[in-house]
Symmetry: C2
Subunit: 214 residues, 2 copies
């Protein structure tokens, strides 16, 4: 046999990407074989090489797609106003939603970096660094404006990212909590962690100052 009836390159490639993300997330890149992936797609292994030159390029392509989607999603979610606390809120909420909705792809992008060769690794890390810089900028702006208490911008950014990305480790939809509830709790923790002056607290701080001024 050869070309099958109804076969379509676009659909096949999408099916390969989909199956690859699932399989690699579950078993790890090295453990997944091209034959296993092909079987999942319902095709012979050789057919995969029409879409990706080799196994590593497939992995790299999945990661690149994930990171570029993340950047795009954040660009669209970023609020127009430049209040640092509002931007921090948007960042955390967007980050959690994006990653929860892409648990498998996130696992792949975070855990399989070591399987990339130099150049492929560099290109992914570049995208990741650019994204992380967004958070550092928010934190610095907030600290400069006196709206956040941040000892060390870099450390705090890493701490927050680890914390909110970690949601995917334990979160399962259809269980006790919804994404919105989890996001609310994590937002509250982020705000306390950064000593954010919310409107309410702000009023409180001002009240205290007024009391003392008397």
């Amino acid at each position: 046999m050869a070309r099958t009836a109804g076969s379509d390159g676009g659909r096949t490639e999408a099916a390969i990407r989909d199956a690859a993300v699932q399989l690699i997330a579950r078993h790890g890149y090295e453990a997944v074989t091209m034959r296993q992936l092909a079987a999942e797609v319902g095709v012979q292994a050789a057919a995969l090489y029409r879409y990706f030159p080799n196994k590593e390029d497939l992995l790299h392509s999945l990661m690149r797609e994930h990171m570029e989607e993340l950047a795009t999603t954040w660009e669209n979610a970023r609020p127009a106003n430049d209040d640092p606390v509002a931007r921090l809120t948007s960042f955390v909420a967007n980050h959690i939603r994006f990653h929860v909705e892409r648990r498998h792809a996130t696992h792949v992008s975070n855990m399989e970096l070591r399987s990339l060769s130099r150049d492929n690794l560099t290109s992914i890390l570049k995208l990741r660094t650019a994204y992380e810089k967004e958070l550092r900028t928010i934190l610095r702006d907030g600290a400069d404006a006196g709206l956040l208490e941040v000892d060390d911008t870099g450390l705090t950014a890493m701490a927050i990212i680890q914390m909110i990305t970690g949601v995917i480790v334990w979160f399962r939809p259809d269980e006790r909590l919804s994404v919105d509830e989890v996001t609310a709790t994590y937002l509250a923790m982020t705000m306390r962690l950064t000593g954010a002056k919310t409107n309410a607290e702000d009023r409180h701080v001002r009240q205290d100052a007024e009391l003392r001024a008397r």
Copy 2:
């Protein structure tokens, strides 16, 4: 050739464990071959099978050792007094120190769980869950005593653990910050995140209350 001069079972096993942790942390369990590991130790691949029945049992043994050391270290570091804030401080400081000192073993224990078969996985998760429960207990005790502000004990425990374990992702000794400096910053973030009433803040809160009472 056969037995080599000066060979010693104890030393060889230790060398295997050491090399395995380094190699698996860097390349991943599936990517490391028994021949590669043997070469690193300076021995033939067959010699490894005198110490571990197979590749997976080697991995499981490394993880078990790591988790048991973690439990032991915490037992020794746990403060005698039962002030929740003091216990939280000890937990975070001990956790960061332990993991920073064992970056590679931590990577193995956290990232290679999917390579374990059912029974081996269960035994490791049991140890991990027991350890995490320590933190949940501290948080609940603190919340019950009114010393911590914790919305959700489970979520907060996971958030803190992700945050402080994440140190190993970016921390490198001999760079800008020492372990103690990093620990101090993370402790400050943890205390804010949990709304901990330290002595200083406690006094501050009492002062505010007094001011208002006038």
